[in-house]
């Protein structure tokens, strides 16, 4: 990560970026597993370098990869994780059964983890992160490797469990829909750099109709001419995005092109989705 400064608010935050963007590194830095070479990290208002261990008492972590021992049952594993976090046996046992109840594991919780499906393993991984009632849980690619149905279930489980326990979420993913479903704030990173930080609702509001325009000649003159007609064009993708109001907007674009001596190569009505925004930012 390089020249990376970000202030993350409370709530459910998504860290979005392509593979290798630095999402997992970011999560590991926040956990204190990787030390920064320069700069400082503050987690939950405390300096990470000074209080790494104490801060971890308030953090839950769900790693991306499979990391649960097959030889234990779900209950045994969660109790062990509770004890390793510092809970008493009684408290860890009680909490284990409560969480597994919320996850609707039923009698499956007494089976060995090696017999669990991919979705159940992910649930157990999520549960171990929430066992001690953390203030914030870091979820690293929680839907990785799941089929669509299991993915939807996982997202609902994350929403449900964190909602009911009032836990803040830091969700690292490369899947846009995961962020849309779970998060209320998104951070997009690429090549170890912060690309964008936005409220998800505001971002969704940007998903309005636009006209994709591609011209030859002076783009600056064309944009000025459009502005005289009361239209603000923005750059996007291969050309410009002009907000669609009604069919008259097409005429205004043609007029502006003529007046600014520009050739109109392409004029097509399109919808900006979150995918488009993400690709624009990442590209």
């Amino acid at each position: 990560m390089d020249d990376f400064t970000v202030d993350i608010p409370e709530g459910k935050i998504g860290i979005l970026g392509p593979n290798g963007a630095g999402k997992s590194t970011f999560v590991k830095i926040a956990l204190g597993l990787i030390r920064t070479t320069s700069g400082s990290v503050t987690v939950l208002g405390e300096d990470l370098d000074r209080n790494t261990i104490d801060i971890r008492r308030k953090i839950g972590y769900m790693p991306e990869h499979d990391c649960i021992p097959n030889s234990m049952t779900g209950v045994e594993f969660l109790i062990e994780m509770g004890l390793v976090t510092g809970m008493s046996l009684q408290s860890a046992t009680q909490r284990t059964h409560e969480i597994l109840g919320h996850l609707m594991m039923g009698e499956e919780k007494y089976r060995k983890i090696e017999e669990y499906s991919g979705g159940m393993r992910q649930k157990i991984k999520l549960a171990q992160g929430l066992i001690h009632g953390p203030d914030v849980i870091f979820l690293d690619e929680p839907t990785s490797g799941l089929d669509p149905k299991a993915r939807q279930e996982m997202l609902e489980t994350i929403n449900g469990l964190t909602e009911v326990s009032g836990t803040n979420v830091l969700l690292s993913t490369h899947i846009l829909q995961d962020v849309e479903t779970v998060c209320d704030h998104v951070i997009i990173i690429n090549n170890g750099k912060l690309q964008m930080q936005e409220n998800v609702k505001k971002l969704m509001q940007r998903q309005t109709d636009v006209i994709q325009v591609r011209i030859g000649g002076s783009t600056e003159d064309f944009v000025k001419q459009l502005k005289k007609s009361g239209i603000t064009a923005t750059s996007g993708g291969r050309g410009l995005h002009v907000p669609y109001v009604n069919d008259k907007t097409f005429e205004q674009i043609v007029d502006s092109a003529v007046k600014s001596n520009c050739q109109l190569y392409e004029m097509e009505r399109a919808t900006i989705t979150m995918d488009n925004i993400y690709l624009e930012v990442v590209d």
């Binding site: 590991k28 790494t52 953090i59 499979d66 994780m81 004890l83 390793v84 510092g86 009632g133």
Partner: protein, 304 residues
């Protein structure tokens, strides 16, 4: 519905009261120790039983006066080696007789402790908990250390108590043998700690339990055999420092303040090596193990 709502409320307000780091580490260590002694590890239990039976048999030999220390070094060197003193009994009893089993037990019990965490990658979950890397290593060290103490210090302590019983349970006997008691504990701790650290190093380096156990056993006994051959050829005592078994034995004799001797198929030989050489090599080996394990786990922390 009402009942469900109450459960959710309790779930929402849950904030675990967490204990201190030392308690977490000690708890992890003790649970690991109990797991080693559980029925899931029949070979470990069998080896512990075997070592205890060996100790019992050896003690019967001692009590009948058949222990061959009268002729151990010949008449001339008997005073030098302080043979037939309780010190030598204990060193031979605890270490000479059980050495083979001790190494086997250390190999079997230590090999899976870190290797399994690395194989199933649960090490990432442990290291994200409120414990440091060193805490984790101590927690994995405790189980094998306690297990080895059960077969090094504990049998000797029982022999010590028995001898005290034979002496009529007189308090004066304890006073006269207070250093012996301390030596027994130091020797047991020294052997247990050394083999634990070396075992955990193999467990970290070779993250497959059975391979790690095999490599540990081969390393300890392979180096001992090679070193003994070279010792015969060269005749320099310092060659013995290259074998873990011989190195630990030499320090073991230092602990009991007796002159070190070398036991091989051809007989017994006195060893004359400077303390600084012995402890220098020991610190180098154990230090290297510690640095290596720490480095390996730091790599695991940073990578998937």
């Amino acid at each position: 519905m009402k009942e469900k709502a109450q459960v959710s409320e309790r779930f929402r307000e849950f904030k675990a009261e967490l204990t201190s780091r030392p308690s977490i580490v000690l708890g992890m260590g003790l649970r690991g120790f109990l797991r080693l002694l559980s029925l899931k590890n029949p070979w470990t239990i069998a080896l512990v039983a075997l070592i205890w039976l060996w100790t019992l048999g050896f003690y019967v030999l001692l009590s009948t006066g058949d222990y061959p220390c009268e002729n151990l070094f010949g008449d001339d060197s008997s005073e030098d080696f302080k043979r037939c003193q309780p010190l030598v009994y204990y060193n031979d009893l605890g270490l000479g007789g059980v050495r083979l089993f001790l190494v086997t037990l250390a190999a079997i019990s230590s090999s899976g402790l870190i290797a399994n965490d690395m194989t199933d990658k649960s090490i990432h979950l442990y290291l994200s908990r409120p414990i440091s890397r060193l805490d984790y290593l101590i927690a994995r060290f405790i189980p094998v250390f306690l297990l080895l103490m059960c077969v090094t210090a504990l049998p000797n302590l029982i022999v010590y108590v028995n001898q005290w019983g034979e002496a009529g349970l007189e308090f004066d006997w304890i006073k006269n043998h207070k250093w012996l008691l301390l030596d027994i504990l130091i020797l047991g701790s020294f052997y247990s700690a050394s083999y634990s650290i070396i075992g955990l190093t193999f467990s970290t380096a070779i993250n497959r339990e059975s391979w790690a156990a095999g490599a540990f056993f081969l390393f300890v006994y392979g180096s001992a055999i090679i070193v003994e051959i070279f010792y015969l050829m060269i005749g320099d005592d310092r060659v013995l420092l290259l074998s873990i078994i011989h190195l630990l034995d030499i320090i073991g004799f230092f602990i009991f303040d007796t002159q070190p001797f070398f036991t091989a198929a051809f007989g017994f030989e006195g060893i004359d090596i400077a303390d600084i050489e012995v402890f220098g090599v020991f610190i180098l080996i154990i230090g290297s193990c510690g640095i290596f394990v720490n480095w390996m786990i730091s790599q695991m922390e940073a990578n998937k």
